[in-house]
Amino acid sequence: MSRTPGRSTSTSAGSSWWLLLLLIPFVALLWVPFYNRFDPALFGIPFFYWYQFVWVILTSLIILLVDSRTREVDAADRDDRP
């Protein structure tokens, strides 16, 4: 994922680091051998299943966090609305 060069300002560079958090779900879910196991089971539900369910919630929280840290002033979005 390349960034358009020369578009970041110095203040924005700091907040862009938050975007790296979005990589975590990819690592957590695409490395299959890590979670393809039965134990530890939770209420009889194998690890394979509940682990992936937990990542639904974690991913949602990560996106909320990144959104709040990188949100722009909405005025910029509104000024050209019809």
């Binding site: 578009r7 862009s16 979005l22 695409l30 393809n36 639904v56 722009e72 909405d74 979005d77």
Partner: protein
């Protein structure tokens, strides 16, 4: 015939029909403008966008096919969950940017953007045709969802054309309200549909495990070879790489589908999309639970119950969930559940047909056939095409073997992925040459189709040989890799000749939202 279920089903269906027509008056706009009819005026806020995108991504086919895959193949079918998780960081990063540039230039389709960005109507045509071809079988499969639940209520199981009459009625209704109300209809109906779906799935995951004696007993009843992915043998990555690449490749492909793009572009701001990226995983949770119902059907042993034998004969494992619903619930609730699935087919089918007709109108009709048409003529054309598209899907599902629709949908996923370089890379850089992108697209199509062909179009997983190691992976991703390679190698060569570069009507500031756009 199950009259109680049929009555509930018909009542709920009648409700959404009324809603579909009333929707034309909702947030009133001039429906002779294409962005009003086809994008609901780009005025949908966070909540409606959430329902619309949810109704769009999690379709009737999803609700039938995902549990059916888990029921038949076990853990590998669960890839739908990681797929619909990792898609949202991508949505968050990429789609607000798409929204911003589309809003600035009144782009209705992804191909509109490609046309504007690269000044190449051939590349835009390639993107448009790929979108239409990938969408058609998808619409047909929504009908399959409807057909299965209608069959589950004991209607039309005898086969023959008479058995298809309920399906045809449902489709006429769908076609009529899409024609009059445009995207407003599925946006409004999606709220009802998703409410019913949430109720149904919640009931399933509470009632069925209770009847089976708890989740522990449920999982204990699943054969071990289905419960987890089998550990790969020597010299192969087995189902591990298949699982990961199916999840990743499907996530990449999802928002290239015209119906997803349509729903995204109809939202009222880029911030609506960012917020929805955080809230839409609620549907993923639901989808995961739904996938588990495949195991519930297995544990409940519905396939061996004699009363379901004829339907299993006709619909195969696609009947697993309807059978489980009939087996576990009273008839009236089965009616609610089947209505949820049936209406769950109408919403995406409406959005898909609108998206396909937007593409045809904007990027084929206006671009090649009738360049001087008025905006009202443009919209009228789109409305007519939406009827043709749906009629095509109906003919498809009634007269052709079901296997064709499933195989074409599988190929559609591979094909639509090949538009990623032209559309997504274009949001970030103008370095790629439109002719290189076009050749890359064609190369990707050939490679992907060939890979699927080696399995007899039965599977999208191709056993790639790498240095003595077999890496079974999603063909869409492998094809995309060859596509990107072609684009990277050929772009500098074509770029030597200025004439091939085309004109770019967008400016850097048009992409203000999303990754790399922090400045004001």
């Amino acid at each position: 015939m199950n009259w109680t279920a049929i009555t509930v089903f018909v009542l709920l269906f009648g409700l959404v029909t009324v809603l579909g027509f009333v929707a034309a008056h909702w947030r009133r706009g001039d429906l002779t403008e294409l962005h009003e009819w086809g994008l609901a005026g780009r005025r949908l806020g966070t909540v409606i966008t959430w329902f619309l995108l949810g109704g769009d991504v999690y379709t009737a086919y999803t609700f039938i096919a995902v549990p059916a895959l888990v029921f038949g193949a076990g853990a590998i079918g669960f890839f739908a969950l990681p797929y619909t998780i990792i898609v949202y960081p991508l949505v968050f990063l990429i789609l607000p940017r798409m929204w911003a540039v589309a809003h600035r230039h009144n782009y209705i389709t992804a191909a509109d953007f490609v046309q504007g960005r690269y000044g190449s109507r051939w590349l835009a045509l390639a993107v448009a045709v790929t979108g239409i071809v990938a969408t058609m079988p998808y619409i047909a499969l929504q009908l399959l969802g409807l057909q299965v639940v209608i069959g589950a209520m004991g209607v039309g199981t005898g086969g023959g054309l008479a058995g298809d009459i309920p399906l045809i009625i449902a489709f006429v209704i769908l076609a009529a309200f899409t024609y009059t109300s445009g995207l407003r209809a599925p946006a409004m109906i999606a709220v009802v549909k998703d409410t019913l779906i949430y109720i149904t799935v919640m009931a399933l995951v509470i009632v069925v495990p209770y009847q089976l004696g708890g989740y522990g007993k449920l999982f204990a009843a699943i054969p071990p070879e289905k419960l987890l992915l089998p550990t790969p043998g020597a010299g192969t990555l087995g189902q591990y790489s298949a699982y990961a690449t199916l999840a990743l490749g499907s996530a990449f492909a999802l928002f290239l589908y015209p119906h997803t793009m349509t729903a995204v572009l109809s939202s009222s701001s880029a911030q609506v999309i960012r917020r929805n990226a955080a809230y839409l995983p609620a549907y993923s949770f639901l989808l995961g639970l739904l996938a588990l119902t495949g195991f519930m059907a297995l544990a409940a042993g519905v396939a061996s119950l004699p009363e379901f034998a004829p339907q299993f004969e006709q619909y195969k494992s696609n009947f697993a969930i309807p059978a489980l619903i009939l087996h576990s619930f009273p008839d009236w609730f089965a009616g609610v559940a089947f209505a949820a699935i049936g209406i769950g087919g109408l919403v995406p089918a409406a959005i898909m047909s609108i998206a396909a007709s937007n593409l045809f109108t904007r990027n084929i009709y206006v671009a090649f056939i009738h360049p001087n048409c008025t905006r009202a003529q443009e919209t009228q054309n789109a409305k007519l095409v939406s009827l043709v598209v749906k009629l095509g899907a109906l003919v498809f599902i009634i007269f052709l073997p079901l296997q064709y629709a499933i195989q074409l949908q599988l190929l559609g996923g591979i094909w639509i992925s090949q538009t990623i370089p032209a559309v997504i890379f274009g949001l970030y850089t103008r370095w790629f040459n439109p002719w290189a992108l076009l050749i890359g697209w064609a190369g990707g199509l050939v490679v992907g189709t060939w890979m699927a062909g080696t399995t007899g179009f039965q599977s999208a997983v191709f056993p790639l040989q790498m240095d003595g190691l077999t890496v079974p992976g999603y063909a869409a991703l492998y094809a995309l890799a060859s596509n990107v390679m072609l684009c990277v190698v050929l772009s500098p060569i074509f770029n030597q000749a200025r004439a091939t570069r085309g004109s770019d009507e967008t400016a850097a500031s048009d992409y203000r939202f999303g990754l790399g756009s922090r400045q004001q």
